[in-house]
C-alpha cells in the first residue's frame, strides 16, 4: 500500500516513525468499534437522571408565598394532634412541649420500587396547665385557627413571641410538606415510568430539645444504584419563636463562617492523616474547584447535649460518595466567644 512506498522512500527517522505509528494507530482504531459496543447498562441512565433530577428548577421561588399558603395547608391536616399546634395562639412561649408528629405517610411497594415516607409536622403543646380538656381544645382551636387565618383576630390578642412562634411553625411545617411532596412526586414519576428501580425513604428525628432550642432532623434517602443521603434540619429558638440559621447565632463581625469552616477542614486533615482510606474534599490540587467551599449560609446543624455544634453534611457535600454522609462536631470552646 501507500505506506509501503513511504517506507521505501523514507530518508529520515521522522517518516519511518510516522509509518510505525500509522500501523499502530490503525490497529488501535480497529478496536474502536468494539469499544463503542461496550454495553452500557440501562441502570446507568436511570442513575444519571436521578442525580440530575431537579436541576434548573427554581428552588427558592415558592418560599415567598409559603406563609400565605401555610393556613391552607394546616386546614387539610388530620385532626390528630393538630390541636396542640393551634392551641398556643394565646399562650406564653415558655413551658411549651415541642414534638414532631408524623401527620402523613406514603408507602409504595412493587418489584423494583419501594417508598417508605413519613411526613412529620412540628406541634407545640402547652404544659403550664392552662390547657383545657383535650376534646374541647380540638373543636375550639380548630375554629380558632380558621378565624385567625381569616381575620387575624386571635393573633392580635397573642403575645408577640407566641404569634411569632406560631408563624415559624407554620412556615417550617409548610416547608417540610413542600420538600417531601416534591420528592414523593419525583418518586411516583419514576415508578410510573417503570425503568430500572428506585427507592425513597424519609424519616425524622428530634435531635435537640432543650430549654432554648428544638431541632427536627429530616433524613432523606433516595436510592437508585448506590443512592444518596441528604438531610434537612429545622432549628427553632424557643425564646424568640424564630427559626434559627447560623448567622442568627453568631455576631456578623466575628468571622464565624471562616473560623468554623477552617476548624472542620482541620478535622478533615487529621482524619485523612490518621487513615489513608478516608478522603475529604480539602486541599485537592488536581481539581481545586471541587474542594469544599466552607459552611453555607443555610448549613444544616444542631446542638448536641453538651452544647457543641454538630454540622450535618449530605452525601457528596464534603467527601466522595463512598464516605457516605458526614457529621463534624465543633466544640463549644471554639465558638463561644463569637456567639451573639
Amino acid at each position: 500500500m501507500g505506506n509501503e512506498k513511504n517506507v521505501k522512500n523514507a530518508k529520515d527517522m521522522m517518516v519511518e516513525e510516522q509509518r510505525d505509528f500509522t500501523q499502530l494507530e490503525n490497529r488501535i482504531m480497529a478496536g474502536r468499534e468494539a469499544y463503542q459496543r461496550i454495553p452500557v447498562p440501562d441502570e446507568m441512565e436511570r442513575r444519571i437522571r436521578h442525580v440530575t433530577a431537579g436541576a434548573g428548577r427554581a428552588h427558592g421561588l415558592r418560599i415567598a408565598v409559603a406563609a400565605a399558603a401555610a393556613a391552607a395547608v394546616l386546614v387539610v391536616l388530620p385532626n390528630t394532634g393538630a390541636d396542640m399546634a393551634y392551641a398556643m395562639g394565646n399562650l406564653p412561649v415558655v413551658g411549651k412541649l415541642f414534638q414532631a408528629v408524623t401527620f402523613r405517610d406514603y408507602q409504595f411497594e412493587s418489584d423494583r420500587f419501594n417508598a417508605n415516607v413519613e411526613i412529620p409536622q412540628i406541634v407545640v403543646e402547652d404544659v403550664a396547665g392552662e390547657k383545657p380538656e383535650s376534646g374541647a381544645v380540638q373543636s375550639e382551636t380548630t375554629g380558632q385557627e380558621k378565624e385567625s387565618s381569616d381575620s387575624g383576630k386571635t393573633q392580635e390578642e397573642a403575645p408577640e413571641e407566641s404569634k411569632r412562634l406560631q408563624e415559624t411553625i407554620e412556615q417550617v411545617n409548610f416547608d417540610i410538606d413542600k420538600v417531601t411532596d416534591q420528592l414523593v412526586e419525583e418518586f411516583k414519576e419514576s415508578a410510573e415510568l417503570g425503568e430500572s428501580y428506585g427507592s425513597l425513604e424519609i424519616h425524622h428525628e428530634t435531635v435537640t430539645d432543650n430549654e432554648r432550642y428544638f431541632t427536627l432532623k429530616l433524613s432523606i434517602y433516595r436510592g437508585a444504584g448506590s443512592g444518596m443521603e441528604s438531610y434537612k434540619l429545622y432549628t427553632i429558638d424557643k425564646h424568640s419563636g424564630l427559626q434559627v440559621q447560623l448567622r442568627d447565632l453568631f455576631r456578623e463581625d466575628s468571622g464565624y463562617r471562616e473560623i468554623l469552616s477552617e476548624e472542620i477542614r482541620d478535622q478533615m486533615r487529621a482524619l485523612m492523616a490518621e487513615d489513608e482510606m478516608k478522603a475529604y474534599w480539602v486541599d485537592q490540587t488536581d481539581l481545586p474547584e471541587l474542594n469544599w467551599e466552607g459552611l453555607k449560609e443555610d448549613q444544616n446543624f444542631y446542638f448536641d447535649a453538651d452544647g457543641n455544634l454538630v454540622f450535618v453534611f449530605d452525601e457528596y457535600e464534603v467527601a466522595p460518595g463512598y464516605m457516605g454522609a458526614q457529621e463534624f462536631t465543633v466544640e463549644k470552646a471554639v465558638f463561644e466567644g463569637m456567639l451573639r
Binding site: 442513575r47 436541576a55 434548573g56 489513608e276
Partner: protein, 155 residues
C-alpha cells in the same frame, strides 16, 4: 444564572453518560464499579456546577471530574483489595485484539486515557489538552511517547 449552569451540566451528563461509562469501564472492567464512578462524578459535577467559570468549558470540565473520580476510585481500590488488575477479566466480545487490549491495560491510567480519548472517542488533541489541563505540546509528546511504548510492547 445558577440554574442555567446546573441545567447545562445536567444536559451534558445526559448526553454523554455512555462515553463516561465506557471510559470508566475500561479502567475497572466491572459494570457496578464503572456505574459507581460515573454516578459519583455526576454528583460532583452537579454539586459544583455553580463554580464553573465558563460555560464553554463545561464539557471538558465534566470529563476531568470523571477521570479524577476514577483515579481516586482506583487508588482506593488498590489499597483495599490489592491491584485491580488481578481481578480484571477482559470482557468477552468487546475486544478482539487481545494482545493490544492487554498492552493498553498495562499502561498507566493517564496514558490509557490519552489513547481512549484520542482514538476511541475521537477527541481532537486540543480538547484532550483542555480535559487534562495540559498544554497542547505536552499532550502531543506524551501521546507519541505512549504510542512508542505500545509499539515496543507489541513488536
Amino acid at each position: 444564572m445558577r440554574n442555567g449552569k446546573e441545567a447545562l451540566v445536567r444536559s451534558i451528563l445526559l448526553e454523554n453518560y455512555e462515553s463516561y461509562y465506557r471510559l470508566a469501564f475500561s479502567y475497572v472492567h466491572q459494570e457496578a464499579d464503572a456505574m459507581d464512578i460515573v454516578q459519583e462524578g455526576a454528583c460532583k459535577a452537579m454539586a459544583k456546577a455553580r463554580s464553573l467559570r465558563e460555560e464553554r468549558f463545561a464539557g471538558t470540565w465534566i470529563y476531568r471530574i470523571m477521570i479524577n473520580t476514577a483515579k481516586d476510585y482506583l487508588k482506593k481500590y488498590e489499597k483495599e483489595r490489592g491491584t485491580l488488575r488481578e481481578d480484571m477479566a477482559v470482557s468477552p466480545g468487546t475486544e478482539t485484539d487481545l494482545e493490544l487490549q492487554e498492552a493498553l491495560d498495562r499502561l498507566p491510567m493517564q496514558e490509557k486515557t490519552l489513547i481512549i480519548l484520542r482514538f476511541y472517542e475521537d477527541k481532537p488533541l486540543s480538547e484532550i489538552a483542555e480535559i487534562l489541563q495540559e498544554n497542547l505540546s505536552t499532550v502531543k509528546s506524551r501521546l507519541y511517547r505512549t504510542l512508542e511504548k505500545l509499539r515496543r510492547e507489541l513488536s
